[in-house]
C-alpha cells in the first residue's frame, strides 16, 4: 500500500497546524530549535493520522509529549489529547539478564544434534533481529506478539513514507522559491 494523496494532504494540514503554534514564538531563532519544532510537529501530525488506532502512533505521541507537552495538547483535539497522554504505557517488567542466564543454563543441559543447533542459531538470529526492529519502531517494546509487531511496522512504514514525501516536496518548493 503506497501513501495516497489524501493521506499526504491530511498530513500536510495537520503539520501546518502544528507549525502555526510555533510561529508566534519568535524566539526559536536557532536552527536546532526550529528543526526540533518542525520535526516534532511533523511526528505528531503523522501519528494523529491514525487517530490512536495503532500502537506505534500512541507511543510516538507520548514520546513527543515528554518533549513538548503544550504542542501535543494543542495539536490534538482536547479529548483525544487527554486520553492519549493519561494512558500510561504498560511497563514490560522483564529482567532480561536473569532470563538470559537461566536460558543459558537450560541450553547447557540439553544435548543437541548438529541440525538442531543450526536451527537454534537461526532462531536466535531471528529473535535478535526482531528485537532490533522493536527498538526502531516506536512503542515496539510493548508488542510482544510478533504478528502485531509486523503489522505495526507495515503501518509505520507507510506513514513514514507519507511524511518523507510531503516534507521533501515542501523542501523542494522552499528551495525553488529561494532560487527565484
Amino acid at each position: 500500500m503506497q501513501p495516497t494523496s489524501s493521506m499526504k494532504e491530511e498530513f500536510l494540514k495537520k503539520w501546518q497546524m502544528g507549525l502555526q503554534i510555533y510561529r508566534p514564538l519568535i524566539d526559536n531563532t536557532s536552527v536546532s530549535e526550529r528543526r526540533k519544532a518542525i520535526k516534532l510537529s511533523a511526528d505528531v501530525a503523522m501519528a494523529s493520522l491514525r487517530r490512536g488506532t495503532t500502537c506505534w502512533s500512541r507511543a510516538l505521541i507520548q514520546k513527543t509529549a515528554t518533549e513538548d507537552n503544550f504542542l501535543v495538547r494543542q495539536m490534538l483535539s482536547g479529548i483525544k489529547a487527554e486520553t492519549l497522554m493519561n494512558k500510561k504505557l504498560p511497563k514490560v517488567m522483564c529482567h532480561r539478564k536473569i532470563v538470559r542466564r537461566s536460558k543459558k543454563i537450560l541450553m547447557r543441559r540439553k544435548s543437541k544434534s548438529v541440525s538442531e543447533e543450526i536451527a537454534a542459531k537461526a532462531r536466535k538470529l531471528v529473535k535478535r533481529k526482531t528485537q532490533g526492529l522493536r527498538n526502531v519502531v516506536p512503542g515496539g517494546e510493548f508488542m510482544n506478539n510478533d504478528v502485531l509487531l509486523i503489522q505495526e511496522t507495515l503501518d509505520y512504514i507507510v506513514s513514514l513514507q507519507t511524511q518523507v514525501n510531503v516534507m521533501r516536496s515542501i523542501v523542494d518548493a522552499a528551495e525553488a522559491g529561494i532560487e527565484r
Binding site: M1, P90, V126, L133, V147, V158, L160, M167, R168, A176
Partner: protein
C-alpha cells in the same frame, strides 16, 4: 497487561493493508455458506460403515468408531451440531491425502481456558472424545480434532474465522472452532495454533516485501528483517535531515503552503529551464490539465512549474538519491 490485550485487538481490527480484501473474501465466503446451505446434508459415501446410522447432517459422520461410543455422544449433540459442509471439501477429503487446515489462534487459547472452567457434561465428554481422538490418529484419510465452545458470542466466532487461515466449515448456532490437522502432523491444539500464527507472520512479511524496495530476492526471515530495519532507519534519518534542511531554509517557518496544498509535487529546479522559453501566460492555472485548486498559486513567480506527482517512491528508489542523502546526513552530523 490489559492494555496490551486491548491494543492487540485494536491493532488486529485495524488492518491497514491489503489483506483486508482477503478477510473480506473469507467473510463473504462464510456468509455465503451459511446462507446458501442452511440445511445442507452432504451425501457421503458409506465409507465408514458405523456412520451410516448417524444423522448425516451432524458433525463427525466420518470419524471411525475405534472404540468410541460415537452415536451416543452425537445423539446428544444433535440439537447443536449442525455443520454445513460445502461439497468441494468432501470430495477432496476422500480423494487426496492433502489436508486443509484452519485454526483459530485467539479463541483457541480461550477455549482451553474456558473448557477447564465449564463443568457441563457435554464438554467433559467432548474433552474425553478429544483425548481419544488425539490418541487415535488412525484413519487412512482423516485425522481431525474438534474443539467446541458453548454459549460463546457469535462475534468471537466471526473474528475466529477471520483469523483462521483457511476456513472450510462453520457451524450454524453454536460456535465451533473446526481444526483439521495436516496429514503426518500433530493434532495438538498448540501446534496448530502455532502453525496458524506462523502462517500469519509469513503473510505479513510478504506485504512488507512489497513495501520495502529491493527485497524481492531475499527469502529468509532474518534477511528480510534486516532490510526492514535498515529501511525504517533510513526513513527516520531522512525525516531528520529534511527537517534540518527546512529549518535552515526558512528562518521564519513560513513555507509556501499554498502551492503545495494540492497533491502535486513540486518539480526540481531543473524544470525551470524550459519555462524561460514558454510565454508567461501559459503558466496560468486553467492552462494546466492538472488543476491547481488554490488561487494562491498566482502569487508565484511564473518561473515555477508544478507537475503531477510522480510515483512517490520513484525518487526514493533511486540509488543515487539514497547516497546523496547519506552524504548530506553526514554533513548534518559534522555541523
Amino acid at each position: 497487561m490489559m492494555m496490551n490485550g486491548g491494543e492487540a485487538t485494536e491493532a488486529e481490527l485495524f488492518l491497514n493493508c491489503d489483506d483486508m480484501s482477503v478477510l473480506e473474501r473469507q467473510r463473504v465466503q462464510l456468509n455465503y455458506h451459511q446462507y446458501h446451505h442452511p440445511g445442507f446434508e452432504p451425501t457421503l459415501p458409506c465409507f465408514f460403515p458405523n456412520s451410516s446410522k448417524m444423522n448425516v447432517g451432524e458433525v463427525d459422520s466420518f470419524l471411525p468408531s475405534a472404540g468410541l461410543d460415537l452415536p451416543e455422544i452425537y445423539g446428544e449433540l444433535h440439537g447443536d451440531a449442525r455443520i454445513s459442509v460445502s461439497p468441494g471439501n468432501i470430495t477432496t477429503e476422500f480423494g487426496n491425502s492433502k489436508k486443509r487446515k484452519f485454526g483459530c489462534v485467539d479463541t483457541e487459547t480461550k477455549v482451553c481456558n474456558e473448557k477447564k472452567k465449564m463443568m457441563m457434561m457435554m464438554d467433559r465428554e467432548v474433552a474425553v472424545e478429544e483425548e481419544e481422538e488425539e490418541k487415535s490418529k488412525v484413519t487412512e484419510q482423516c485425522t481431525r480434532s474438534i474443539m467446541k465452545m458453548k454459549n460463546k458470542a457469535k462475534k468471537e466466532q466471526n473474528s475466529c474465522s477471520n483469523d483462521s487461515s483457511k476456513v472450510t466449515k462453520d457451524s450454524q448456532r453454536t460456535d465451533y472452532i473446526h481444526v483439521r490437522a495436516r496429514r503426518g502432523q500433530a493434532t495438538d491444539s498448540h501446534s496448530i495454533a502455532e502453525r496458524a500464527r506462523r502462517e500469519k507472520i509469513s503473510g505479513r512479511m510478504k506485504f512488507l516485501q512489497d513495501l520495502v524496495p529491493g527485497c524481492e530476492k531475499i527469502t529468509g526471515k532474518a534477511g528480510m528483517l534486516d532490510e526492514i530495519i535498515n529501511y525504517v532507519q533510513s526513513l527516520q534519518r531522512q525525516v531528520e535531515f529534511l527537517s534540518m534542511k527546512l529549518a535552515t531554509v526558512s528562518p521564519r517557518l513560513d513555507f509556501n503552503i499554498d502551492d503545495i496544498f494540492s497533491k502535486e509535487v513540486v518539480s526540481a529546479p531543473m524544470m525551470n529551464l524550459p519555462n524561460t522559453v514558454m510565454p508567461p501566460h501559459m503558466m496560468v492555472n486553467s492552462g494546466y490539465p492538472h488543476d491547481m485548486v488554490n488561487s494562491g498559486y498566482v502569487h508565484f513567480n511564473p518561473m515555477q512549474q508544478v507537475v503531477t506527482s510522480s510515483d512517490p517512491l520513484s525518487c526514493f528508489n533511486n540509488g543515487q538519491s539514497a547516497t546523496m542523502w547519506d552524504s548530506e546526513v553526514q554533513n548534518l552530523y559534522t555541523v
